[in-house]
Symmetry: C2
Subunit: 352 residues, 2 copies
DNA sequence: TTGAAAGCGCTAACAC
DNA sequence: GTGTTAGCGCTTTCAA
């Protein structure tokens, strides 16, 4: 059975010549055009011809060469998904939805993991222009190139998800982060909290900004004061949630609304380190409802976004764009919902 | 700025003819061969020629057509990574390492998310044979096709990571799951636990089997009895960890070793639901040290695998394979280590 | 319904 | 150091 670098077969990479469509044509006694047709659109050839071809294909274990097909058709059937961090469960769930729709349409989804590194962002943005991908799905709103709109991408079709830049013609699927944040703050206010802190995400990202705005307006609507000492800008990472606590607790909040679940977990760790319990001493509300939010101790009250659905919808939109169909709507805003669990409760002084 | 489906540019997809190498050649007053050389290997043309070409490329905003290049060179510079579940943080961390090495080598990594569905597994396995990928990285040991060795993949170079099937010539990067599991059990035994339960992963997967064997042998070496009532087969999901608890607790264990961290978290939820605390009533040890293990409450004692490193190493191996170099070693076994945190402690009766 | 033939845009001999 | 030329394997007119 030999060594894995040298195994050969009918289609072999081991050095011998691979089977081509011409070989099949010769074996079946037809032209390459007919083989091509039989493979792409079986209905268009006679049953007899089809049979001969099918047999030849099976005998030779033939597979079309996608490379040649791609060049001829000038398409790759590949979409490139640009994400800031694939190891973030938020993105990997969205990706599941993307990958599924892509696959259903005979497309392949490639991930470009930028780690928010401008150099890598640029490298990936170029991929589409070099015709390594037919279209782009952007989950990373920071790319400066996007800011100037579609033209900066050289006419490559793209859809943004979650993050966004302004522009009337930009295709976009997202949830209403502003509303959801307001809801989260309202929930805490209703429980009786008066001093509600906020751990924000990086403020150069649209979702962080929206959640922050929702926080401010939520406070205002509840008639609570808006103390700058109760705001901390994190980076969506666990550690930044923990790091926020010592500073934030100086302002004596009884509740904290964090811009994602990871920072909520980090914050809870930080509170624990100070000997404070959640929700007994401080309530915490997160955002995203990632896979582990409900299984955390305490289970996290958080905003559930339909991540899988966002991925599916954005990809369906891109498929429309690629097939040249007119889009019904360019912007879709999905509903998110507050999931109330044990990490939020009335403040201690309110008597539980 | 028009509509994102119709924007055109020099390389345009909007319908007008794209710039080709022939255009650049004409503008620069050289042959296409020279343009090709100047782009691929600048040192081989004179500075003067290079300059003319560079200017023409910049002016026309030219990008090589990878489709044509790929056909000509009969390569895709793409590797396909087959994973059972990308939303699992264990895999997404490995993928980070993969994606990085691929990128360093001018390759692109595509994820094939199988969801352990045989149909999708087969579809992805075919991709390489259709020349949509140059090589395969298998993180999913279940594909029946692999079982028969390299030949089943039609000579496509591949490397397995973590999961494996037997075969002397299979390229493989993994950690020693057997040893690590023994270590975990030894740790619990040393703390004074006598009845140690095990929540296994799906037993048709090599890693589950290895961890289970390590559990058995770990018990034996500690002189503990091996009670079938203390074993439960889960599916690596959170819920299966929770589901295991009612059954398992009938056997009165004081400690549980789970085959991954997700099931450990699930188990802790299940114990909580029964009013049992961790580690006061029952100690829990997980496996993998995923992103949230240390931030869990209680922080999880677990086996840390160098996931990122596994991804990097496996990809480096595949790059070797693809470049035709002889491999130093076909199998690499990396070290994992036990990370002791608060979820494991001496049993209550031991007075710890 | 089928065949002949013309490329898709690039790279790599081979000649100069 | 540069140009000429012959394809890579497929799809798709256009004719028959």
């Amino acid at each position: 059975m030999a060594d894995n670098t040298q195994v050969k077969n009918a289609n072999g990479r081991g050095g011998d010549k691979p089977t081509t469509m011409a070989d099949i044509a010769r074996i079946a006694g037809v032209s390459t055009a007919t083989v091509s047709r039989a493979l792409a659109n079986p209905a268009v050839v006679t049953a007899e011809t089809r049979e001969k071809i099918d047999r030849a294909v099976a005998d030779a274990d033939y597979r079309v060469n996608t490379l040649a097909r791609n060049l001829r058709k000038m398409e790759t059937r590949t979409i490139l998904v640009i994400v800031p961090d694939i190891a973030n469960p938020f993105f990997s769930d969205i990706f599941r939805g993307i990958e599924e729709v892509a696959h259903e349409n005979g497309f392949v989804a490639v991930i470009g993991n930028t780690e928010v590194d401008p150099e890598r962002e640029a490298a990936y943005a170029n991929m589409a222009r070099e015709r390594r991908a037919d279209g782009l799905l952007l989950l990373d709103g920071k790319l400066p190139a996007w800011a100037s709109g579609a033209s900066a991408l050289g006419g490559v079709p793209f859809v943004m998800a979650c993050e966004y830049v302004d522009g009337p013609d930009i295709c976009l699927v997202r949830t209403d982060n502003y509303d959801a944040a307001k809801l989260a703050v309202a929930h805490l206010a209703e429980l009786g909290h008066r001093r509600i802190a906020h751990i924000a995400g990086p403020l150069d990202r649209s979702i962080s900004q929206d959640r922050m705005r929702g926080y401010h307006d939520g406070l205002a609507e509840a008639g609570l004061d808006d103390d700058p000492a109760l705001i901390f800008e994190g980076d969506f990472g666990l550690d930044s949630g923990t790091a926020a606590i010592p500073t934030l607790m100086l302002g004596k909040p009884t509740a904290i609304f964090t811009s994602n679940d990871e920072m909520a977990m980090g914050a809870i760790q930080g509170l624990r380190a100070m000997g404070l319990g959640v929700p007994e001493d401080v309530s915490v509300v997160g955002f995203d409802d990632i896979r582990f939010a409900g299984a955390y101790n305490p289970p996290l009250t958080t905003v559930a976004q339909p991540r899988y659905e966002i991925g599916r919808l954005a990809t369906e939109m891109l498929m429309q764009l690629l097939s040249g169909h007119e889009l019904g709507q360019r912007q879709r805003v999905l509903n998110s919902s507050l999931v109330i669990r044990e990490s939020s409760a009335p403040p201690a002084k309110a008597g539980g």
